[in-house]
């Protein structure tokens, strides 16, 4: 290993340490008594309520679609539950544009859910743009965590 690659290795390792210190925010939601009747055949609520996006994009990836398939099934089994989709962005670019982008992310999640059988009246949307970052640092790992839409049940 020459001197330069050693330095780069140290830098990368240190950067990885820094980024991993940026914990993902847990969104707590109440479920209006939905958990009281735990029939085994009923769809389970997906373990994650977040879907993630690429920079300046509102397109859903495979992981996001998998999460939303789970939510579509869960919502089908829990007819009384309504949800709000909250769209968020990383801090790059303009705040005003990011507000619109966050809305588009929330809308894209809503469109996916409604196309999978969820009534649109049960899905509300709101954008916080870059105003409520889950990770307040900078760097690619942190930004990636902040480009998300969360499904919050009411």
């Amino acid at each position: 290993m020459n001197q330069f690659s050693k330095i780069m290795f140290v830098a990368l390792a240190a950067a990885a340490l820094l980024f991993s210190g940026c914990a993902k925010k847990e969104v707590v939601s109440s479920e209006g008594g939905a958990s009281t009747h735990s029939v085994s055949s009923m769809a389970k609520k997906p373990s994650s309520n977040s879907v993630y996006f690429a920079f300046d994009s509102s397109a859903l990836d495979a992981a996001g679609k998998a999460t939303l398939n789970g939510y579509a099934a869960w919502l089908a089994d829990h007819g009384g539950v309504t949800v709000t989709v909250e769209g968020n962005c990383d801090q790059r670019g303009s705040r005003e544009y990011n507000l619109a982008l966050g809305q588009r992310r929330a809308d894209s999640v809503k469109a996916y859910l409604t196309s999978h059988g969820v009534s649109s009246s049960r899905v509300d949307t709101v954008s916080f743009g870059e105003e409520r970052p889950a990770c307040t640092g900078t760097g690619a790992a942190c930004w990636a965590q902040n480009r998300h839409a969360d499904i919050i049940s009411r």
Binding site: V10, G93, Y97, L99, A100, Q103, D107, T125, V126, T136
Partner: protein, 419 residues
Amino acid sequence: MRLLLLIILMTLSTTLSAVEFDVYQSEYRPLNIALMVDAAPEQHGESQKLYNVVKNDLISSQSFKTLDPLSFIADTASTLEKIDYADWRIIGADLVAICNLTATDERWRAEVKVYDPFRSKLLATNTLIRDSNELRVISHQVSDFIYKTVIGVHGHFNSHILYVKKRGDKSDLIYMDQDGANRQPVGKNFTLLLSPDWAPDGRFVALNTYVGNRPRLETFDMATGKRNAFGSFKGLNSTPEYSPDGRYIAAALSYTGNSEIHIYDLKKKEWKQFTDHPGIDTTPTWSPDGKWIAFTSNRNGSPQIYRKSLSGGKAERISLKANYNTSPVWAPHGDRIAFITLKQWEYALATVHIDGTGLRYLATGKRIESPNWSPNGQMLLYSAENSGIRRIYRIPAWGGKAEAITAGNIDASDPAWSR
């Protein structure tokens, strides 16, 4: 190890930023001005205050440099009586401004004369009168008069600035004179506060805030503090901007299923849709004649600046370079649009002619955002982040030095200059 990383990062960032950034600098050299204020001994304190306000105004414009009075050969009294141009040429004064301040009938009276020693000429003279509690106002008027006489453009020294101060989850709307005097909160405890825009009458402010986790548009009455919601649709309610005549507010709404520019008629209390395109349309800004609206749209894949006529027709693209251009603000004189652009890996404040030519980069900075023009189009405000804190900066639109106008220990954003 941390230290090593820091050193590597610092070396890396200095090399990166040294690569390329042609920030625009004009050839303009500030003019040397000899400034004098004469007053009766009873008004010595006030005349000193006037002198300091005018001096600070002129220097902050970056168009003037005030000469040290210790270098003056002639004194104020004799210059008032009869100016000897040679005395001023010899110390390199491009200009001599002399103000005689008197108090009569509960009023301030300022008589101002501006001379050009190198052309041996009295350029202009003016008498200003204000109430006795308006010493700062009359001082700014003296600055305005000197500025107009020399630069040929109206001064902006009696204008005001609003910005948003964020503390934790709450935001306050802060008011100040353009020179930082009279700084005070005018609206407190908003849950998120974005994009305040000052109505041309100076009394109302349109803004975007959240109530119960819902965004909405409100007008804020500066006189009474009263808030009035005028846009609370499903989805986005954002980026309000008053038309130059104050009758309309353009904003971005998404209740149609997509973010579009809509226009609110304050008189009829009615909304009308202005753009209709599946891409994101946001941040509208009016041309000074009220005939066009420029806005950000990603209709061709990346955010770019477009303009569209109020009388209809297709949207024309203004920004030609870079794949990320947002936050357009039309200059009060109509010749340029200021916006935020991505240049290589840095975001920058830039201006461009309406036809997309004459691009000028003015400043870079982390999270550089929210450009806003001074009423005379000579200065720009913007916010940028430093160690996690955003500050408001002021920079001449013709290129110059950026100066912070908010403190380094409060989070300030979203500047709005009175019109």
